[in-house]
């Protein structure tokens, strides 16, 4: 169980970095332009959010790749134990994590295109919505993974 445990830890660390980047970008995308520069959100906006886009794409891709590998171990070694213990809601949330993660992966090209260059007002809303959906997916995946790991982590 050394390899899956090591991969799970790396998966978690990548997820933390992704969580920070996408959350910052989402808040900056929705922050109004009239906010005072010295306020909390003003300082948020002063960081060029577009620079997060490449990092988010790479971190998301790494995270889902690691998750896809760990999922094989999860299905064989962890999920049967969760089923025997009757943790059905946790398994439901985990199923949703899989579905959301796949949909989010396919959104990455459009997300990257949207952040790549200055855009019109209409596209700006699309960009903010895409970023928000990805942020929701990342938060959902992080929290669900964390809870499932707490219920029955590797080695338990």
């Amino acid at each position: 169980m050394v390899l899956p445990t090591a991969l799970l830890i790396i998966h978690g660390l990548v997820a933390v970095a992704l969580l920070g980047a996408i959350t910052h970008q989402t808040l900056a995308a929705w922050a109004t332009a009239g906010v005072h520069p010295s306020s909390f959100f003003g300082r948020f906006r002063s960081v060029p959010s577009a620079r997060f886009a490449n990092a988010v794409v790479v971190l998301y891709a790494i995270s889902i790749l690691l998750g896809g590998i760990i999922y094989l171990y999860f299905r064989v070694d962890i999920r049967p134990g969760l089923e025997r213990a009757g943790h059905w809601p946790a398994l439901g949330f985990f199923d949703l994590k899989e579905h959301f993660a796949a949909i989010g992966l396919a959104l990455l090209p459009a997300y990257w295109v949207c952040w790549r260059r200055p855009i019109a007002e209409e596209r700006s809303q699309t960009r903010a919505m895409l970023t928000s959906i990805l942020a929701f997916i990342v938060w959902w995946g992080f929290l669900t993974g964390h809870v499932v790991n707490n219920i029955m982590g590797f080695g338990s």
Binding site: G68, Y71, L72, Y73, R75, V76, R79, P80, G86, W88, P89, L91, G92, D95, L96, E98, H99, F100, A102, I103, G104, L105, A106, L107, L108, P109, A110, Y111, W112, V113, E122, R123, Q125, T126, M129, L130, I133, I137
Partner: protein
């Protein structure tokens, strides 16, 4: 209006179509392949353990469909994206770009609906 650049059109069409195809693949159980991690084998199409072995032995060879569903959706979305990218820009310029977040959002709700049985056990 959608951008006329082929790359942009592909990216938007791919993300939108994947979400739709993915929900269809999950709802209709259309996996391009099925993974049996405990046996280390991958079989083409949707393969239910109970169809291959005695139902009582199913726990020994759990089947995984997620990779296959994603592959099915990716194949469909790739085809759709390439077609849209090859279309003349004037044909696609009246598509609302918000479709690229609206369809995935609706697909996520549909996935939540399909997952409801887990919460009734």
């Amino acid at each position: 209006m959608m951008s006329s650049a082929p790359l942009h059109r592909f990216a938007f069409a791919f993300g939108t179509a994947f979400a739709v195809f993915y929900v269809i693949a999950v709802a209709k159980d259309l996996a391009l392949f099925t993974v049996f991690p405990s046996l280390g084998i991958v079989l083409a199409g949707t393969q239910h353990t109970n169809d291959l072995t005695d139902p009582a032995m199913g726990f020994l060879a759990p089947a995984m469909y997620w990779y296959g569903w994603a592959a099915t959706a990716a194949l469909g979305a790739l085809t759709f994206g390439v077609v849209v990218a090859l279309l003349p820009g004037r044909w696609t310029r009246y598509f609302w770009p918000g479709l690229v977040w609206l369809f995935p959002a609706l697909s996520m709700i549909a996935c939540a609906y399909l997952t409801l049985p887990w919460f009734r056990l």
